[in-house]
Structures are given as C-alpha cells and as structure tokens.
Amino acid sequence: MRKPFPVRLFSTYAGLLVFYLFLLLPIVWLLLSSFRNSDSIQSGRLLPAWPELTVRNYIEAFQISNFTTYMANSFMVAFSVMVMVVFIGSLGAYSLSRFTLKGKRSFMMAALLPQFFPYVLVLIPFYVLMSNLGLVDNRFGVILTHTSITLPFALWMLTGYFNAIPRELDQAALIDGCSRLGVLFRIIYPVAIPGLVVAGFFAFVVSWGDYLFVSILSQSNTTQTLPIGLQTFMSSLEVRWGLITAGTVLAIVPTVVFFSIVQRRLVSGLTAGAVKS
C-alpha cells in the first residue's frame, strides 16, 4: 500500500479526534467521576486532586439494598433471553434454511413486520395478555417479552447465516448416519458460531437495556432490572452523583465485556439479515 501523504494523515487524525472526543468524552467523564468523592465532583474543577480519588462510591453502590437485586435480575433475565433466542431462533432458522415449508416466504415477511411496530402500542395488549396469564411482576413474563421482541431479528439473521453454509456438509453427515437434528448440532452450530454469538449478543443487549417493557411489566423491585434501578437512583439520590455514576459504570461493564468479544463480527451480523435472503 502507498503511504498516505502527511496532509492526509494529519486531516484524518484531526477528524478522528473530533469524532472520538465527542463519542468517548461522556464515557471517560462518567468513569472519572465514579472514582471522585462528592466534594471533588461538586468542586466544579475538571480534574480531581489525588486524595479525592476513592472507590467508596462502588462500595456504597453495592450496599444500597436494591442494587444487587437489580443486578441479579438483569443477569438472570438477559441471560435467559439470550439462551431462549439463540435456541428457538436456531431451530427455526435451520427449518427455514433446510426444509421445504409451505408459506415460508409469507412467514418470513410476517416475522419482519413486528420490527416496525411501536413498542408503546404493543405494550398495552402485552400488559393485558401478561396479566391474564398471571405473569405481571414475574421474571418469566419479562423473559418472554424480551424473547418476543428480539426473536424476529435473530431468526432473520440466523437464516441468512445458515443459508450461507454449504448443504454438501449436511448431506455428507446424513449419509454417515447423522440424524437431522444431529446435523444442526454437530455440523451447523460449529460453523455458525459467529452468527449465534451475534444473535445472542443482540438479545442480551436489548434485554439488558430495556426500560419500557420492564417499567410496566415489573411492578416491584423483586423483578425490576438495572435500567429501572438507575432511573430510580437518578431521581432519588439527586445530588449523590458519585454513587449514580458508579452504579452506571457497573451496569455497563457486562455489555462492554460482551461487546469486546463480538466486536469484529457485530456489523456483518447486524446487517446480514438485510443483505442475505
């Protein structure tokens, strides 16, 4: 490759600096503030003095009685949603990709439609449905809800992925005496791991971040998740921003860790449903 001219190099870095200052500054400021004591935060100074740095905010965040419950609920819900979406989605995608089904095309289109529905509209019948099923203020109700809002996209994406896997692989395995289900688990799964991980990540992130559905379907803090918790902190701990920022950092760590694992595949995965098929 030809070396870029210094002018171009300089302007590229200048442009990147502007964009990344905008993108990363809020995160850096949040991180920095979560380690400052409240005098330091309220001092109106840009940088803290060394003795003002502390991990007390994190210790106190864990001591607020509900915080660990919110965290546990978030983990339980998001993890279950991820497993359900990947499992149900991959079974469905295997079927759509490898079997002749009547009405396949119309089903695929019908599955895409919900992506356009306003959630505030869907939420109303959802609440009525869940209260009829006795699943209001129940973690399973939240899991079911999050599964339903993430499954259509995961199904599309995984069908695209599976379609790209050569059928000769299946046939060879079938001839060797592998069952149809065995083909999915032994042949397709290993090859489609990047797709499965992106689908799982998508489900996890949506569930982890959802405020809207949880705000109505969970009514007590035994089932509420972190977004509700952070919103409650923000409005009730009004001036204790050290604590609020520490809680927020704790809430974003899992998504950031998961993101760093899938980051390479993320975009090809997220746009696969649109490009393939």
């Binding site: 870029p4 590229t12 442009g15 990147l16 905008f22 993108l23 990363l24 809020p26 995160i27 400021w29 109106g44 149900i88 079974l91 469905g92 079927s95 079997f99 089904l101 019908a110 599955a111 439609l113 992506q115 529905f117 306003p118 959630y119 505030v120 509209l121 109303i124 019948p125 959802f126 009525v128 079911l144 599964t147 339903s148 499954l151 259509p152 199904l155 149809r180 982890w208 971040g209 405020y211 109505i216 977004p227 952070l230 919103q231 923000m234 921003w241 609020i244 920022t245 927020t248 809430a251 974003i252 998504t255 998961f258 993101f259 980051q263 993320l266 975009v267 997220l270 746009t271 490009v275």
Partner: protein
C-alpha cells in the same frame, strides 16, 4: 396415499411423514412466539384503539368507533408531539447519514492505529440507553456539569445554563444523544460497504480525471445506496419509535418542549389509564411510520437512476 404401500412399508411412510413434518416442528416455537407474542398483540392493540378500554377496569370496555382518533387529532399536545417526532426523526436520520459517511471516510483510511478506532467505534451503540442518559444529564448539570465547567473555564460562563431544563436546548440534547448513539453504527456499516467497492472503479474514475469529490459522488455513493437505504429504514423506525431517550432525560418537558409520540402515548396509557385512547395514538404512529419507510424507499431507491 395408497394403502397397500403403507401396509407393506409402514416404516418408509412413517419416515417420510416424519421428515416432512420435522421442519414444522423445528419452526413451531418460533412460530408460536411470532404469532402469539408479536402479531396477536399488535392486532389486539389495533382493536383496542376502537374501544374505551381503561386501565382501571381492563376487563370491561365498549366499542366507540373512531372516537379516539377524532379526539386525538384535536388534542393539542398530540399535535405538538407529532411535530416533534417528525422533526427529531428527519433531523436525526439526515445528520446520521452525513456524519456516518464522514466518519466512515475517516475509518477507511489506512493510518497507524486505525484498528483501535474501528474496534471501539460501536461502543456507544451497545450501552443501555439509561446509561447514556445518565452521562448526558451528568455532563449538563447546572452547577458542576462538564459543559458548564468548560464554558466557565474558557471565559464563556455567561452561556452556562441548566441545559435539560431549558426549552430551547432540551430538544437539541435529545437530538445529540441520538447522534451519539447511532452515528458509529452507520459509520462502521458504511465502512464495510466501502471496502467492498472494487478499486478499479476508482482507478477508472481517476483516469477520467475525477477528483476526490467526484469519485465520492459518482463511485462511492451509488455503491452505498443499498446499505444507506437499510440504515435509514432501520433508524427512521428506531428514532420514531424511541421512548427511552426522551422519557428518561426530560420526561417530555420542560413544558412539552421535548414531548414525542411514544412518551405522550405512554403517559396516556399508564398515567391517564386511557388504554383505548393510547392505542389509537399507537396505530397513528404505525401508519405514519409506514409512510415514512415507503418514502425513504422511494427517495433512496430513486437516487440510483439519476
């Protein structure tokens, strides 16, 4: 189906039958979720919009025809929310496409350290929206927010204010949060598409005497048309339907200055108990969204022919 063959090869028939239905069995859980938990609730929501269903007694409701729709269209706050939703969606998506193209152009450059920039780009997209709202509210606090610290520090203290509490700036901040979250997603998607454009197209353009700008206009842009359409449709939907950014940062205030359709409808349903009325608002949203998506398709689909 002939009975004799079934009698002579019951196993073969059974296997064929099982094979044919196996596909449906595999699909059934997904089918159940999509029909039962996506399409049914939506149809049910549309039906609710023609009733006076209330949260106080959801079991009993009466058919009221189009009454909710007539009331909504005369509701001044609904009109304001509709206007804000359209403004926000159109402004956000337009700016996201432009900024996404600029950022993609930067990310595609082969300069030292570019892999770092590419790999962290989408971080803002994966964070829970509540976390982004905490960051922006914290940065714009009236007394010790970063924005005011920086303004005061550079001698512009007169401009410092309570940003989210200011009617003029609250809407701008909502817009900025949408850009902050989504521009990198555009950039990374555009970058991937740019890398797939054959380099000989650029060489041919250069031989024809096309400069950077003309190469971008006549080679890059036409080749990105499809991914632009995908991203625009995705984000028109996201922005128009998004509830969290506004509700968590301003709650629609100050004085309705940031009220959008999702927040207004949510409040009608869950604070005003008017489920039927709110559903009608949701159906209007859906109708507008369909028009917006079709318009984008027409507009961007048409760009290639010109």
């Amino acid at each position: 189906m002939s009975t004799s063959s079934a009698a002579s090869h019951p196993q073969a028939i059974w296997r064929r039958l099982a094979r044919a239905s196996f596909g449906y069995i595999l699909l059934s859980p997904a089918l159940l979720v999509i029909l039962g938990l996506n399409l049914y609730p939506t149809v049910s929501g549309v039906l609710t919009s023609f009733t006076n269903q209330s949260l106080i007694d959801p079991g009993h409701s009466a058919f009221v025809g189009l009454e909710n729709y007539f009331k909504l269209l005369q509701d001044p706050v609904f009109q304001i929310s509709l206007l804000h939703s359209l403004e926000l969606t159109i402004l956000a998506v337009l700016l996201q496409v432009v900024l996404g193209l600029v950022m993609a152009h930067l990310l595609i450059q082969k300069v030292p350290g570019i892999h770092f920039f590419r790999s962290v780009a989408m971080i803002t997209w994966v964070l829970p929206i509540i976390a982004s709202v905490v960051m922006f509210r914290f940065m714009t606090l009236p007394n010790y927010g970063l924005a005011n610290i920086l303004l005061t520090g550079s001698g512009l203290g007169a401009l410092a204010r309570n940003w989210f509490g200011d009617e003029k700036y609250a809407f701008l901040l909502i817009l900025i949060m949408h850009l902050w979250r989504n521009v990198p997603f555009y950039a990374v998607a555009f970058m991937a598409a740019m890398q797939a454009i054959p380099t000989d197209l650029y060489e041919a353009a250069r031989i024809d005497g096309a400069g950077d700008w003309r190469q971008f206009w006549f080679v890059t842009l036409p080749n990105l048309r499809y991914i632009i359409l995908v991203m625009v449709v995705l984000h028109v939907t996201f922005t128009f339907n998004n509830f969290d950014f506004v509700y968590l940062s301003t709650g629609g205030g100050p004085v309705n200055a940031t009220e959008v359709l999702p927040t207004y409808i949510y409040k009608q349903a869950w604070n005003g108990y008017a489920l039927g009325y709110a559903s009608a608002g949701g159906v209007i949203m859906l109708a507008i969204l369909i028009v917006l998506v079709l318009a984008c398709n027409k507009l961007i689909g048409g760009l290639s022919e010109s």
